[in-house]
Symmetry: C2
């Protein structure tokens, strides 16, 4: 019968498993534990107290722990804590048995001393592979690829290739693509397992392989690679070095992680945060993470206040002008955030290339003009009606038009400029653009009000 | 030799291909066209003028066009335009030859008349499958699954299963998982092709299959399914109906699209937009999409203005109060957006369950208090120093503390409340929360200022 897993069933299972662990029933524990999917194993492991985890290290080999360590996604501190409680030799063997790309992700975060110790204690061949991968930048194709793939030569027959595949099946991250290399280790072609299965057993790989391969260079940005794999619906993509040697592959599950990570990052920045804190964080640690942003914004806000203070006399003469400060600053902020969002995502997905940058800026300015005109007219109408002063209506309405146009343009230009300077445009976070737009829009507003002061009094 | 594709090479290839199309060299065109990956075929197709596309419909069969139509991701209007120029019978055959889940995605967007006509003209078996899939809500597991999968029974041997797989390989969206059903069509187990390949040819499927299957129900939300597939690193996941019958599968490429779509949606809403408009949109169409949001925000801004107008006398007496309107409103907006982002993403990823909602609200309020206290103290210090008035410093500082605490709490409570009411919390977009926080924070500020007016004068 199909065992459709419900959340509550799972909790019961975890409890039973924990009881076996605590009572020291090693065989029963192992049997039930290996029935779990590695993701479930990792969930179980993370819920344990340290002393229970210590028991697990006695019940399971480093290789068995490595299986579910591959699916963990923890913060650096959390890995540190786990390695603190593991025997160093055990931890090293475990890391060596992990998929190399995942081990590298973890080792990139530990202290230099720990890294050296782990690499020394590890099996030499594993350490060598891991050292090789650690040379690549974390967010490049080289940084997320794995070296555990199946490669064949074009002179093999389908039968020979299938036999080779069977042997390699356990040690490869995916067997659903077979990569064909020439004697020089250069990438010559690709075959999906689907094509291999349909093919005649006696056919030569060289005759049936697809020679037209889309590959990534080790230095390619992970976000670009993700975009290509998504466009092409690839389950795996080969990575080549600068001499076109096949050095690794990137698999779909890595790409899903990259996509989640990049979307998360852009989203956080738009909200003015370094990261979306986990719901389990304390108030104190949440506040600590948000404060750098908020303190920066406080100082920027003080610049706005200082600028407005120079208009103190204007405000004293016509106090009602103060009532429209939030709407002018706010609408400029809203328009600016919209065009910022378009530019940041457009750059991230590669939709915006160098040639279309000017076109985009013009498009946004046009859109700012149209929306500013509409909103300006609405506000002019309302103010003329409610405040019985068409000159106040004109001043606020025109300020809104200018503010929204400038804000829209700025919201595009700043990220485009940053990307030109090779700064991640997502750093131009929403709140900073909004505060910059506050200053500009209110300067326009009060300058206009000053100019028409005689009509307002 | 490996043919590593560069963008510029590609453009040259497209041009050569276009020349063959225009000169009517059908065989040469077909040969070169089928050398392209389906994604590249679709890129080429979309760049054409209508008359060139008409030629393509003569050179390619509906089934051949369906191959690359599967990888298109267009707006409803764009599909409409393409179907307008296609012969209805050709379009119907083409849709029937597409992967069913993709055909359904397109057919969900066309007019009722077109839908009826296509389903009538289509091969009856295809139409039936598509009608079945169209019964499911678009953003559920049923709405994104495909019915083209390989299933075997537990009584088959590995050899028989492999033979069956070879026959089905061309018509299935993935062959990398084989789903095992009992005579009742109920899901009984699962086997990866990797396990099948390693297994002994004479073994029975029932003996080697994994009985513990994680499956989705047809009505499950696509975002939850995406989360599970990402957690478990699945390449495909079975979908069952309410009687546990296997009715379809969801593949990793669908999940990547779902992830991109959901992240895109949350991001757009945070920026106060229905969608991030493509860079190719015109100013006019961009403005049209943004205006509903901006007009709504203009009216909300007028509420803030009306509220502030009631404090006109206060402003007239102490005009410098006006200088701090942007910082108080702005900081409340920033804090509120941060906690909104945490709540929206937490709900979307399922991290926030019912039980931890109160804990999250308290955590956020605590974080609001701490950050409000720090920023309030900073602003108190600066104002006391620059404006030589500690009473003004106290009023602005305390307002900031109260405003940031309330805004943080509100930023959490509103999305939590919406999710309780089964409204997508992402609708509580950043700008709306920010404007609501403007009103509350400025009310606090001016009430405080009024209360201490005698000290300010």
């Amino acid at each position: 019968m199909a065992d459709v897993i419900e959340k509550t069933e799972m909790e019961l299972e975890y409890e039973a498993l924990l009881a076996r662990l605590r009572e020291g029933e090693m065989d029963a524990f192992r049997e039930a534990f290996f029935d779990l999917h590695t993701y479930e194993q990792s969930e179980f492991y993370l819920e344990l107290e340290e002393e229970d985890r210590q028991k697990m290290y006695h019940f399971l080999s480093p290789e068995e722990v490595a299986e579910f360590f591959d699916s963990l996604e923890l913060e650096p501190e959390e890995y540190d804590a786990l390695f603190e409680e593991m025997d160093a030799r055990y931890a090293a063997s475990m890391l060596g048995a992990m998929q190399y790309d995942n081990a590298v992700d973890i080792l990139n975060e530990v202290t230099k001393e720990k890294l050296t110790s782990f690499l020394t204690l590890m099996d030499r061949a594993d350490a060598q592979e891991i050292r090789k991968l650690m040379n690549y930048e974390e967010d490049t194709a080289g940084g997320i690829m794995t070296t555990e793939f199946v490669s064949v030569t074009s002179l093999m027959t389908v039968r020979e290739a299938m036999r080779h595949l069977k042997q390699m099946a356990l040690d490869s991250e995916t067997i659903y693509y077979v990569f064909v290399v020439d004697p020089d280790r250069k990438l010559a072609g690709i075959l999906s397992l689907r094509e291999l299965i349909i093919a005649d057993d006696d056919a030569y790989i060289g005759d049936i392989m697809v020679e037209r391969v889309v590959s990534a260079r080790v230095s390619d940005d992970q976000e670009e690679v993700a975009q290509i794999m998504r466009d092409y619906d690839f389950l795996a993509m080969p990575v080549v070095d600068y001499q076109d040697h096949l050095v690794g592959i990137i698999t779909a599950d890595d790409i899903m992680d990259v996509m989640a990570e990049e979307a998360h990052e852009d989203y956080s920045r738009l909200a003015g945060m370094s990261e979306i804190e986990p719901a389990s964080d304390s108030s104190f640690s949440t506040a600590k993470k948000r404060l750098p942003w908020l303190i920066g914004l406080t100082f920027m806000g003080m610049i706005t206040a200082a600028m407005l203070t120079t208009f103190e006399d204007t405000l004293a003469q016509v106090a009602v002008l103060g009532a429209f400060i939030p709407i002018i600053g706010g609408m400029a902020g809203n328009s600016g955030t919209q065009s910022l969002a378009v530019a940041v995502r457009g750059i991230a997905t590669g939709e915006i290339k160098d040639t279309s940058k000017i076109k985009l800026a013009l498009r946004e300015m046009g859109s700012g003009l149209i929306t500013g005109l509409v909103c300006g007219l609405i506000i002019f109408g309302i103010i003329t009606l409610l405040y019985d002063s068409s000159i106040l209506g004109i001043i606020v309405g025109v300020s809104l038009l200018i503010a929204m146009t400038l804000a829209t343009l700025l919201g595009t230009l700043i990220p485009l400029l940053m990307s030109r300077l090779n700064i991640d445009p997502a750093v131009a976070s929403g709140p900073f653009i909004t505060t910059a737009n506050d200053i500009i829009s209110l300067l326009v507003y009060f300058s206009l009000a000053n100019a028409f002061m005689s009509y307002l009094l």
